[in-house]
Symmetry: C3
Subunit: 306 residues, 3 copies
Amino acid sequence: MNAWKGQDVISTMNWEREAMESVLATAEKMNVAFRKKQRSTTLNGTVMASLFFEPSTRTRVSFKSAMRLLGGEETAFGDPKTSSSAKGESLYDTVKALETQVDVFVIRHPNEGAAAWAAANTDVPVINAGDGNNQHPTQALLDLFTIQQNKKKLDGLTVLLAGDLKYGRTVHSLAYALSKFDGITLQFYSPSTLRMPSFMLKDLREFVKVQELDSMNLADADVIYATRIQKERISDPEEYRKASYRIDLEVMKHAKEDAILMHPLPRVDEIAVEVDRDPRAKYLEQESNGVPVRMAVLSMILGDRS
Amino acid sequence: MNAWKGQDVISTMNWEREAMESVLATAEKMNVAFRKKQRSTTLNGTVMASLFFEPSTRTRVSFKSAMRLLGGEETAFGDPKTSSSAKGESLYDTVKALETQVDVFVIRHPNEGAAAWAAANTDVPVINAGDGNNQHPTQALLDLFTIQQNKKKLDGLTVLLAGDLKYGRTVHSLAYALSKFDGITLQFYSPSTLRMPSFMLKDLREFVKVQELDSMNLADADVIYATRIQKERISDPEEYRKASYRIDLEVMKHAKEDAILMHPLPRVDEIAVEVDRDPRAKYLEQESNGVPVRMAVLSMILGDRS
Amino acid sequence: MNAWKGQDVISTMNWEREAMESVLATAEKMNVAFRKKQRSTTLNGTVMASLFFEPSTRTRVSFKSAMRLLGGEETAFGDPKTSSSAKGESLYDTVKALETQVDVFVIRHPNEGAAAWAAANTDVPVINAGDGNNQHPTQALLDLFTIQQNKKKLDGLTVLLAGDLKYGRTVHSLAYALSKFDGITLQFYSPSTLRMPSFMLKDLREFVKVQELDSMNLADADVIYATRIQKERISDPEEYRKASYRIDLEVMKHAKEDAILMHPLPRVDEIAVEVDRDPRAKYLEQESNGVPVRMAVLSMILGDRS
């Protein structure tokens, strides 16, 4: 019945449409409770361990809020500097140290494959909350949820993904997730040095129409998904300046009237603050959807009570 | 009825005597519960978000204890190094990310006006837990509470404020709060480079008698309020040595027999540990008053149930 | 009846066999509840303050899990960089600031004697969770518990302690604890610069047979207790290489068939990961025993309800 029960959540690459739809349907119910600040007792007595080997505020807090609203608890681990990893503690030993004390791991780690490797070494379910430049699957779910809430469908959409497509894990996760829906066109726009990895383009072309744009052309997109370009990625300041883009109210004039503008946040300069008042700006709503979507994921993994 | 309900707590500058008295009266009731370690269910199901962009132990823990004793919960954010602000996360976006998940913000930030700006951008009540060199209003309330507990009044007192008066936000908040009571004399003693800002002196003179002392003269003070002088503020070590003061048992001989000695803590060398045994030393009691006073503030802002 | 009630837990040096046996007996009961993830209400409404002035994951989480399973709560303080100690906050003032808000302190500090000093200055019970190179008494209790679970006795054992014996606080605590049992032989193996402090050897010789080995000879040991050698301790890299040891499956061939291999973790290279599959490897079980043992300690200190 519930394909998520006891499962790890590592990558969107092999997800099925049905599994995504079931979690989105649960998220819709959770969203009602969340907006009313209603708490349930579904996960009373369960503990989620947050292992964050990279800084984060929003993802960690969103998981914590989700757990709290379901009646469960969080036990958190700081960043490398303040935790045992400073003494050479490995992810492996940390997971082994904690597996008897917790019911689910949420892991963010700078290395690709870290969550998968942790999952291979413990019977406790593992949720990947970002592994290096690879994947961030619960972000993809909340992105899908936001699209569905606003466009009332997930099929037949043209989605423009812009920014750092090479290292951007949210883009990778969302592109693979969308590729399982029908009639999707994925448009990619990035600096030439930060293009979508070619193996991913090849994978995606099997399922969807792929277009690489050579300018920030918003005209055809139903969904515009902007992401940050990190300064560290481009050594030459002049290159960085050219690679950067900025969506302001002027740029938004070129977008469809019923398009939606998304961003996984935090933003730096990609979207001007003035755009917040454009009714098409959905990134703050998108972010707040993190809680109900993670409530759905946690309740489906940890119980059958949803 | 309750002037605090749903309000932000940003600055003591425009507080009315009546509003302060109402929170002090509530704090007195809370203090009884606190000393008996009695927990209430007043704030069951509510969440306080602690956004600390500067290191702190005592303020954060005191707010957390207050919330816990009222039945509520805390969700905490680390310092800039361990949180998303390392990636350029702005206070604005952090507040927007969390406003749907929490019932009140407690914000400490290195910039003056940070809490006010946050409050202008969200409907969730904001409590300023220190904004740069500007204000720390709940500290002023616990200071008033300590004075009232010991002197049995807030009118007609001579209060000596000593140390770093230029950058000391606790001094600023307390001075403005006291200025609304009757018959107050404020005495100021500081190194010449760290004097009370002149615009504040001007404001205060409208309400109270102001005296700037040129030596650490304790003789007339009913309340001696000592604060730290941070080494970083004075570049020349010789200057620093001259600027520093130290209250030991010898110095306390010059104070009134019924004076009280306060300090917002942490102290470095301003007050010798030997002074802890002097019955006039009230800084540890003062500090522990942080909990009942913050219980009063939180319960008045978040409920009408007090 | 309960020798632990209201007591501080600072050092194993003067522990009595009976007191250790009583906490181990309680730990056995707690272990049943822990393995079934059963929660009790024994410590409902009590608060443990974790004061960690050094990085740690496992000790802190283990105390927190213990407290949670007993129905109590934790209030945590970050490392020096993120807490008030960055402004010169002393341990003394921190303890005084918190003593009215909590029921027990758990303190880890880089200075020897820090926990003892804190305990001398507050009426709230203090548990030493590691003070510099001195002691880590609850680790000794979980080590004893692990030995007893596996060897079915604590008398008559030969225990090999290897690694950094000079600075290794877990070794110090365990050696003194074991010395109160009958027929114990303690074997020590370390680089020459990191030998067991001679005053400790002298103390221990009064109670037990002591042997200093000049090679990693596992042949006679019923219990092999390996510890890390920190690179920083040995300045010459060549010296460090010589001083290092590594236990792999080949080395384990020389150990008794019914020996057990322990390590306080985290490990770096002292024990190869391949050894995890050797049935004599007990360090992961040992680590998970931290929770029931700390449940026993906390419940005996804070209540009489065990």
